[in-house]
């Protein structure tokens, strides 16, 4: 156990940061209390730096390269999320204190909110460190539990608070249901294999095949975790919760639990391995993931076209994006090049998705309007009309992020989607590619509505104004710059995501000698695991 400390430094940093935030946030002095965001940012920066240096390929990890990619990814996108989420809590309270009311530590939620923010990110990181079922369960719960509270805290004003409370309760109960399902699955997995450790499980599956009990456990685990990634059939909460939570919080929900869930599913199915002549998961799991992927993207996209609320639309779009990513998991590590590696495609897509989706929410969070006599968030797509004219920077950021979400070339989202396409084609899944293509086409309809409203239509409707939190606009600009710049410089990140997706038993990374890969892929699992070489650049 103690040797794992070497891989846990990012989490330890986050833990220290979270504790510090908790203390600072409760300080009676306003000047000190205001530093919570800064402390969070510094913590995340350190965690990202430490995360990059995480050593790879410990013997207990089923995906040995995952940590050096996933941890910095979570920390960096976490930084972006911090920009978007800041100013969510305590603004009315601070104003009241400025106006002369005495400081009441019971009425400020800043400390809880920011430390939970860090705890949740820490949970997501811990998912990538997980070497066994218990750890994975605890990590997943650590990701989710703070978010239930954060959703409730994020509401602003009386109406906003009512809605966020409703969202929080809904999110909590369904989340608990999801947790119960995957916990049951984990128990069955243990029952079927006699071990909780992923590497031992994968050896067991390789040696003895997958017993029905273990298979049932795997199916339940996947279904339960699909709550975290908002995949069909556990997607029902998404739109309501995203709408009820503040925009920054919705951005958080759309990335952090999703990343944790995606990583968990990857880890879980990696124990089964993509075996056989055509390198697929066992039939049942394969069909299950296929159905979930297709249903998720289709349901998400179709329902998104029906929305008039931009937050609900983004919620359904985030469902659809989960469907796209599941395609990569279904395909598996492929035959040795980046273009055929479905897992690498998922890793890279998580990065693209994190940037562009957070950017879209950041623009929404930067704006507000009056509703029923209270300050409320921008809600309708119509509120965004003429944004490019009234606020050119925000408007164009929104346009760029939306086009990127649509997968429009030559912006980041396109380069995220192409590896998913190529890897699915490489494994011969033509039907799946057709679904991907058609869904991307459906998606064009609703993303384009937002683009058209912001870019082409004249300003109209209820006046909107800036939310008064400059960091949110900064987050939007950074994300918009990211979707352009990363498209030009994506090669390094693609390489990193490829290393992150290395599985035990398959050697990846020799572009120069593709012919040897077939031999490696067929090698028995333990041998290859021992022979696995590290390539850290």
């Amino acid at each position: 156990m103690i040797e794992r400390i070497a891989y846990l430094w990012p989490e330890i940093v986050l833990f220290i940061g979270a504790c510090a935030t908790m203390l600072i946030g409760l300080s009676p002095a306003l000047a000190v209390r205001r530093q919570t965001g800064l402390v969070c940012a510094v913590t995340l920066l350190i965690a990202a730096a430490v995360g990059v240096a995480t050593p790879a390929a410990p013997a207990w990890a089923i995906l040995p390269g995952l940590m050096p990619f996933a941890k910095p990814l979570i920390a960096i996108i976490g930084l972006l999320l911090l920009l978007v989420i800041s100013g969510t809590v305590d603004r009315d309270e601070e104003a009241a204190i400025e106006a002369g009311r005495p400081f009441n530590p019971l009425r400020t939620t800043r400390a809880e909110f920011y430390s939970f923010f860090l705890f949740s990110l820490m949970g997501a990181m811990l998912c990538s460190t997980a070497g066994d079922l218990i750890w994975l369960f605890l990590a997943l719960e650590l990701t989710s539990l703070p978010t239930y509270v954060m959703v409730v805290l994020s509401g602003r004003g009386r109406h906003g608070f009512n809605r966020s409370q409703e969202a929080g309760v809904k999110y909590f109960f369904l989340g608990a249901l999801g947790a119960a399902i995957f916990l049951y699955g984990f128990a069955l997995l243990y029952g079927g294999t006699g071990t909780t450790k992923f590497v031992e499980m994968s050896h067991h599956f390789a040696a003895h095949g997958v017993s029905p009990i273990a298979l049932t456990g795997m199916v339940l685990a996947i279904l339960g975790v699909s709550f975290k990634i908002a995949a069909v059939p556990m997607h029902f909460y998404t739109a309501d919760v995203y709408q009820g939570a503040s925009s920054g919080m919705a951005a958080f929900l759309a990335f952090v639990p999703k990343t944790a869930g995606m990583i968990s599913i990857m880890v879980l199915v990696s124990t089964l391995g993509w075996r056989g002549a055509d390198h697929t998961l066992p039939h049942v799991v394969d069909s299950l993931l296929w159905a979930i992927a297709v249903l998720t993207m289709t349901v998400g996209n179709v329902l998104a076209t029906l929305q008039s609320s931009v937050k609900r639309m983004l919620a359904y779009s985030s469902i659809a994006h989960s469907g796209y990513m599941l395609v990569g998991i279904l395909v598996g590590p492929g035959g040795g090049t980046f273009a055929s590696n479905g897992l690498a495609a998922v890793m890279f897509y998580l990065l693209c998705y994190g940037v562009m989706n957070t950017g879209a929410f950041a623009v929404i969070a930067s704006l507000e309007r009056d509703s029923r006599g209270e300050t409320a968030e921008v809600e309708e797509i119509g509120d965004l009309r003429g944004l490019c004219r009234t606020r050119p920077l925000l408007g164009w950021s929104l346009v760029l992020c939306m086009l990127s979400l649509l997968g429009f070339p030559p912006i980041l989202g396109f380069f995220g989607k192409v590896p998913l396409f190529t890897s699915a084609l490489g494994s011969g899944r033509v039907t799946l590619v057709v679904f991907l293509g058609l869904n991307s086409a459906i998606a064009a309809y609703y993303y384009l509505r937002v683009v058209a409203a912001a870019m082409l239509e004249p300003p109209a409707g209820a006046p909107i104004r800036d939310a008064g939190v400059p960091s949110r606009s900064v987050g939007a600009f950074l994300a918009a710059a990211g979707v352009v710049v990363l498209a030009l410089l994506g090669n390094t990140l693609m390489g990193a995501s490829e290393r992150a997706a290395e599985t035990r038993g398959v050697e990846i990374g020799h572009e120069a000698e593709p012919a040897t890969h077939g031999a490696h892929a067929d090698a028995p699992v333990p041998e290859a695991g021992e022979a696995l070489s590290l390539r850290l650049h």
């Binding site: 273009a339 380069f415 396409f421 057709v434 384009l448 082409l456 090669n491």
Partner: protein
Amino acid sequence: MTLALLMLVPLLTALVVLCAPASRARLVALTGTLLALVIAGFALMAFDWNYSAHPGQLGLSLAWLPKLGLNFALGVDSIALWLIALTALLGPLCVLGSWTAITENQRTFFAWLLVLQAAMTGVFAARDLVLFYICFEFTLIPMYVLISVFGSTNRRKAAIKFFLFTFTGSLIALAGLLYVVWFTKRYSGAWSFDIAILTDWAHRMSGPEQGLVLLAMLAGFAVKVPLFPVHTWLPLAHTEAPTAGSVILAGVLLKLGTYAIYRFVLPFAPAAVVAYAPAIAVLCIIGIIYAGLICWVQTDVKKLVAYSSVSHLGFCVLGLVALNSVGLTGSVLYMINHGLSTGALFFLVGFMYERYHTRSMRELGGLASKMPIWATFMVFFAMASVGLPGLNGFVSEFLCMLGTFQADKSWGSGMPGATWGVLGPWFAAFAATGVIIAAMYLLYMVGRMCFGPLVEPGGHGGHGAHAGHSGHAAHEPEGALPADLTAREVGVLLPLAALCLGLGLFPTPLMNSIAEPISQTVRLVQAASGGVSPVEHAASDETVPVLAEVSR
């Protein structure tokens, strides 16, 4: 490097346009497009015509995302170069043609127009499949903005329909293209998006694979052309688009579809093309006749020209699926000629619309007495479009049909000049009715618009130039246009007219310059589909210069 400049110059000009004061926008745009035209002229000179089939001339290659196999690789053969030259030529003409038509948001308009030019150049210049796709898709955004901001009443719907149709189609095409890449990877071991490498391998695909790839690619490219069942976005987009948008749409954007069919569908899936050619040809013929008949009953001049595009592009694709040198030559010529003559027709309609703010033939007539210069050009370009011998339309249309006629395996094999193919006289016969229909509707339109008693919409009166002048001033405060074309407008039309005449009288140099890449493609298709003997090759290559002589 030249090609990169041809993309960079419009892009940088677009940036300058955005930063320049609004009153100078059009001047900056004109300078930029003229500069691009000059560079295109240099490109034509620098091109080595002895190796006209070599696909990598004037090119460069930069690694973009090597992990994905994506290179920023440019290079042209003679066909692509001619189409780039056409694009570069239409650039300044579009700017000049929109000089007074666009009064608001000039910067936006010209910037997007320039971006569009860069993207279209990129489509023709791309030597990397993904780069091609990126440019192919990227043309949608500028066109979408041009239509939905600067279009007429129904513009929003037209723009959305245009975007969704083409975007959906090209996603399916992307899947097909990527499948080819995968096939190449599996059999050659190398993951590459290089179009030349893919062309070498793709035709080894099995029949059913080729069929699927062909259908996927056609799903994208046929929408762009557009072929019969998926053409519905085009009339709407054309009618709603601003003049320059229509000109670019007809002149170049539609050619992206036919060019892509030539560049990808024929060499990637030759056996499937042979199998599906009759079906595609039937769709073309339905489109030719059906769109022609719609033209006949049109009262909106712009819609008429738009539908005539559908009809004409049917000939263009028909020539492609004739799969012999004659047909392909005709088709490539058609791409250029249609860009010239239909582009000019859209300019003419636009100039008239600027004066009368209506396009309805019910409200207009006998304009020759009031706008003699306009009417002269109208008659000239309508004739070019109909295919009057001596003008450019004739050469290409005739070659397309001749190619179709000769492309017969059984019936024509005993005839001189008959070449291998799967179409035949019957296809040509039905397509030929399209020529007659085209003559009917274009002549009817010209007769109605130019000759007969003068009819003008209310507010213009019938008292010559001055009345038109004052009626117009209400719409445009900064100074109305004279009744007939201005020097600027004549300047837009003259180069097009000169080229129509030039290419009509002396098509041979152009035909010779594209003969080599075309015969290569034909050889590839025929060899891969296994239906040809070397003798027939020789025959098919012979016919081209002979025909050129005939057409003179």
